[in-house]
């Protein structure tokens, strides 16, 4: 049975935990907002690039098929790009993605897979399981991720694909649906199977001036398109990570609060009991003396 003094120290330490998780919850809330803003700010750009790709693909027609990025690679292996988090304490964020990844690995058990990883947690996880990690994008830290970092990763993946070692490149990240819903997602990255059909902006017509020419524009456009897809995947994952961290820190804070209350009740009862006991002793002693 816990002594009254043990109870007091426990109540105190739980109070400390609660303060810490509350602080972490607030930090996560701020960062969540920052990444949400970043995601919103990036939307016009990716919409324009996607729109341009769609329109130019229409202009190019079957010519897109002649491009290596649009055809399965010559290699046997599969390259997998994984977006995880640098730090833990974010609920099931990493393990949910890990589960999706493991299922996929099982389905492709006969294939050799190389990993390209963002996030320290994912890197450690894969290394621990003896997977072949080719590239770990450690710089910049995830928190400071920007378009340039995404562009670097996209180029590394495209270069790997074009090197002829791989048949395709698959991307695992966490899609952000709302502050309470984040979905581990698999995205086929390369080859580009089809470009999205967006019905806005001008369509290809004879009147459209292309400067300098369709092929040059298209070939300059495709890398940008790949970059925006990686950038989106990174931003959505980061938003999901902080949303998940905020929720799990909130739960921890609430749990600490409940536990503190329960312990305090117990403590008060014990204290009361002791006082009663002492009173009885005193009263009993006084009776005996009389």
């Amino acid at each position: 049975m816990a002594s009254i003094r043990d109870l007091r120290t426990r109540i105190k330490s739980i109070g400390n935990i609660r303060q810490i998780t509350r602080a972490m919850e607030m930090v996560a809330t701020t960062k969540l907002r920052r990444f949400q803003e970043k995601a919103v700010a990036s939307r016009p750009y990716s919409r324009e690039i996607t729109g341009l790709v769609t329109r130019m693909a229409a202009v190019m027609g079957e010519e897109t098929r002649a491009r290596p990025l649009f055809n399965p690679g010559r290699g046997e292996r599969i390259a997998v790009f994984v977006v995880s988090s640098d730090r833990g304490l974010c609920g099931a964020y990493n393990s949910n993605l890990g589960r999706l990844l493991e299922t996929w690995i099982k389905e492709n058990a006969e294939r050799e897979v190389d990993f390209f990883v963002v996030g320290r947690k994912g890197y450690q996880y894969l290394v621990r399981r003896g997977r072949n990690v080719v590239t770990y994008f450690a710089d910049p830290p995830l928190e400071k991720v920007d378009y340039r970092a995404a562009a670097r990763a996209a180029r590394a993946l495209a270069d790997a694909f074009l090197s002829g070692q791989y048949e395709r490149v698959v991307c695992f990240y966490t899609a952000f649906e709302s502050v309470v819903k984040y979905v581990p997602t698999r995205m086929d990255f390369l080859p580009i199977e089809s470009v999205p059909a967006v019905d806005e902006g001008p369509t290809a017509s004879g009147d459209l001036i292309l400067e300098p020419d369709a092929a040059s524009i298209f070939d300059a456009l495709v890398p940008r398109y790949l970059e925006t897809r990686i950038y989106n995947a990174l931003l959505e994952s980061l938003t999901s990570e902080y949303a998940s961290r905020r929720v799990s820190m909130k739960n921890a804070t609430d749990a600490a609060k409940n536990m503190g209350n329960a312990l305090r009740k117990l403590y008060n009862r014990k204290r009361q009991e002791n006082i009663t006991k002492e009173l009885l002793d005193i009263v009993g002693g006084a009776e005996a003396v009389r």
């Binding site: 700010a41 329109r55 300059a220």
Partner: protein
């Protein structure tokens, strides 16, 4: 009177959304001029400047390549990076220029690997155009 809206879009923000009278862009194959009522166009851009004149007179933006699209009365410039002269960090651009020149001179990357020449050239070009957008003479 016909108007032209110039919108400059980067992954981080919309740098400019303004009604202008004329725009000059650096296309892959040379300078492109856009006036109101321009025919629909999609163009690939080189690293360079976006020069436009509007209500506040002639202005310049730095533009790190990308694409331009004319549709209706709107010209959209979609680029990885674009800055107004007042937002350009001169010291950083000068640093970048020095670094790029150094790499091109020695022929090695700071990491010791053989130089990625197109990349170093592009970095130099960006630094020089940033300085030019800031008002320094071309190639200075």
């Amino acid at each position: 009177m016909p108007t032209l809206t110039l919108r400059v879009i980067t992954p981080d923000r919309i740098v400019l959304d303004e009604i202008v009278e004329s725009v000059r862009l650096d296309g892959l194959d040379g300078s492109l001029g856009v006036l109101p009522r321009h025919a629909p166009m999609i163009a690939a851009l080189d690293v360079g400047l976006v020069r436009y004149s509007g209500a506040q007179g002639a202005r310049t933006l730095f533009c790190a390549g990308g694409f331009a699209e004319v549709h209706g009365d709107t010209l959209r410039v979609v680029t990885q990076a674009s800055e107004r002269p007042e937002d350009i960090d001169e010291a950083r651009a000068r640093d970048a220029e020095q670094r790029a020149r150094e790499r091109l001179r020695t022929g090695v990357e700071p990491s010791g690997e053989p130089l990625d020449v197109p990349r170093a050239r592009a970095a130099l070009k960006r630094a020089l155009f940033r300085l030019q957008a800031k008002g320094y003479p071309a190639g200075a």
